[in-house]
Symmetry: C2
Subunit: 473 residues, 2 copies
């Protein structure tokens, strides 16, 4: 059923996106410029994401902490590259309790500085290491253009900050966290991602290198979805984080940081949703099944309640829509909100001991025996998770290209954009040349070596890297 | 065992408190004035509190949302009493991304304004009501003196904000949430509380009235621990939140808000802990049982692992201390960190098929048969929860007094402070007179009526209220 509050994707993808966000009550604009309100449905999705990821972090040995939201300017400035990267985006607190502050405070844009300051006081010997800390919080970056979940002045995220006694261990951590992100995206969000290293230009300010997971939206635009940074000793030297190593000598620590944000909700929408509203992978949907009595009759409701109990007892998050709206209205509402499976209980079906089950992603309707409803629902949820991943994977495969000339890239990006594999010499000049083609940027370096035959797609000099390129959100 | 990092309570209660906070790695001071770092142990406690309370809220029908952290000054000013109450405590953002802002933004000190602004846009008819929303976030109030968990510039809390179509329903909600807080304090934190209404002077800025739960610390100082506010139509008139009622007329909504903060961790410490460190009620302890192999021997460790598995399978959060420290060190560490039950597995006991079990609150040691370890642990945890509540209740009873003269109050507050029941005429003058006695303030009004014989403890005029008074943190 077409939802008349939602622009269709072929007419205007950007308008479709914000229409879905609003129609599914995920977020609303606030009276505060550049900040969005997480409405109940949107925040429930964030809680679901948070609880799964948090479990994965804890299983990997991480603990949560909470650092102050304020960073004194002098503390922020200790690591030069970081402040250069973030100063233009900081929000500054300059007054507190009717007094002008002696030193202005930044609202945390990211917390490397605070964690480093804390580690410098608490890490003494190799026995204290590693420290594997994470925090869930909001951060502020003074963006000019904002879009719900994709770019806003305040956003919710997690930031892991770890400190190690050897570079090997820290580098392993950087890769391990990237793997966790990849696994979470693929297994739970049903979003296939590619992984690689950011170029010097695109890496995190202050990092030795940045690893990234990159996803491809259904319209072929790519989205940087999670990053994991290796800092080496950059921060430990700037913030004086020393430990006594096993040889009884002072040594600077090795650090990492890694983060994903509420942007994941944007990725979910743009990967899976359709012109009728939100489509959610069952494993991440806060509510997996809605049961709708077609009429407000006692015998129908009692069947709904039995089904609901059976599903809940199997760990499926189902609910009954008891509201006094029409059945059609309830169907439409469940549809726009992306409830994966809908079970309709009507008098005609019930006369044959049957109910109707409808999958949100395919709209497939099936009339099934009442006895089969639990098994069928479980199967549908599993199948839907798998199908949604495969559909996204097919889109990614279809939109992944090899190119050796700028004309090819231009042709791809103008007609059916996606990920383009192309070789690159490593110069920023050539990187910027690519950007002239509809803003195409390097997504990640997937291989680096001394190639014998491969040439840079821009300057035709010897290539040093194989890079995936794409137009970014 | 005395912990030499901890000042004893009889020497200096305030120093004891901060020593426990630091020794148990709950919090650390940061480089940001007035802000504390939640260390891993402290944040784990907050997560435990949060998950239980959040479950109670959701069971009661609440949903979580997230409002922006910034409040434009003009929006904050719409309700006059609120801004008068909070303006002197606000932190102000005046610069963003290298530019001076046209209007300064407050860091949320509380979010009535943002919720009201949101409700004014989204509530249309009585069918949209009630809205039962809550958010978990940090807030900032520019306090001068700060103490970890009790008073700090940034703190973590939850704030519920609900909107209703009748005053009755909103008042019921105000009371219902107070009951939930009381239940949480008594059942989980093992802290008995008294409840009542705040005086006009002590109520929340902008509220019609404020209900409160008040706890008594072991030294007799009282702590305001949670508040629930009834707003009537004050905010709905200021922020224009109208709905069409069942008679098809426009009507202003009725609102509530309610909150508890990380101050609960302070209450936990000051109610239950001792000179050896933290003591935690088992229901709130992130880790309930530590199993310590007395020596690093394979047969001991394999017994530890069997015990651990049995406990985990019963839903008890136990862990084995595998570290290469001495057994004595491990005992002391578990003690200072407040692990409720310790199981020691040593070669001598094990030769008799026995282990030793030690309760943190009483230090009771018992040698028990290996077969009994799971049952005994469960019993100890249950008993400890109950005993800790009763111990705190006894302290509260012992320190609850009736007084009819200021001399009596003075005597009580100087010698063995606590809660004092005394009648009051209702004038602010008399309230301030009480304050001259070591800062004694009204905690809450527990009864109001036209008394025949009772007189105000200060001015001796006819009393209007029975009030509990106390010295506050």
């Amino acid at each position: 059923m077409k939802n008349d509050k939602i622009t269709t994707r072929d007419v205007d993808f950007a308008a479709w996106y914000t229409d879905v966000v609003k129609a599914a009550h995920l977020a609303d604009y606030s009276s505060v410029k550049g900040c969005t309100i997480f409405e109940a449905n949107g925040y429930a999705l964030w809680e679901r994401i948070q609880s799964i990821l948090d479990g994965m972090f804890k299983e990997a040995g991480h603990q949560n902490v909470y650092m102050p939201v304020f960073i004194p300017e002098s503390l922020l400035k200790k690591e030069g590259e970081l402040i250069n990267g973030f100063a233009p985006e900081c929000a500054w607190i300059t007054e507190g309790g009717n007094n002008k502050l002696e030193e202005r405070l930044a609202f945390r844009p990211t917390s490397e500085t605070l964690f480093s300051d804390y580690y410098s006081k608490t890490v003494k010997t190799y026995r204290d290491l590693p420290k594997l800390y994470n925090q869930w919080c909001s951060v502020v970056r003074w963006e000019k253009e904002t879009r719900p979940f994709l770019r806003s002045r305040e956003f919710l995220w997690q930031e892991g900050h770890t400190v190690h006694s050897t570079s090997d261990e820290a580098e392993m951590e950087t890769h391990r966290m990237l793997d966790i992100y990849k696994r979470f995206f693929e297994e739970y969000l049903a979003i296939p991602v590619i992984t690689g290293r950011k170029t010097e230009k695109e890496k995190f300010a202050g990092a030795e290198y940045t690893l990234t997971i990159e996803a491809l939206m259904q319209n072929g635009i790519s989205l940087q979805s999670g990053t994991s940074h290796y800092f080496g000793q950059k921060f430990s030297k700037a913030y004086d984080i020393k430990f006594i190593n096993k040889n009884n000598e002072f040594e600077y620590c090795y650090q990492t940081s890694w983060g994903v944000s509420n942007r994941m909700i944007g990725a979910l929408i743009m990967t899976h949703s359709d012109d009728r509203g939100l489509v959610l992978p069952p494993k991440i949907a806060p509510k997996q099944v809605v049961i709708v009595p077609i009429k407000n009759e006692e015998n129908l409701i009692s069947v709904c309640e039995k089904i609901n109990e059976s599903l809940l007892s199997k760990g499926i998050t189902s609910y009954i829509d008891y509201s006094d709206k029409s059945a059609g209205f309830k169907f439409a509402e469940a549809e726009v909100n992306g409830i994966p499976v809908r079970i309709e209980v009507g008098p005609r079906d019930l006369a044959n001991n049957e109910v109707t089950i409808v999958r949100r992603d395919t709209s497939e309707r099936e009339v099934i025996k009442l006895n089969d409803v639990v098994n069928k629902t479980i199967n549908d949820l599993d199948k839907m998770q798998e199908d949604m991943y495969n559909k996204a994977l097919n889109n990614l495969k279809e939109r992944t290209y090899d190119a050796t000339t700028l004309e090819e890239v231009k042709d791809i990006m103008e007609n059916k954009p996606g990920f383009v594999n192309a070789y690159w010499c490593g110069s920023e000049e050539c990187e910027l040349k690519m950007k002239e083609i509809k803003g195409t940027k390097s997504r990640c370096i997937v291989e680096s070596k001394e190639y014998e035959h491969e040439k840079c797609i821009v300057c035709n000099k010897n290539a040093k890297h194989k890079v995936v390129w794409g137009i970014q959100y």
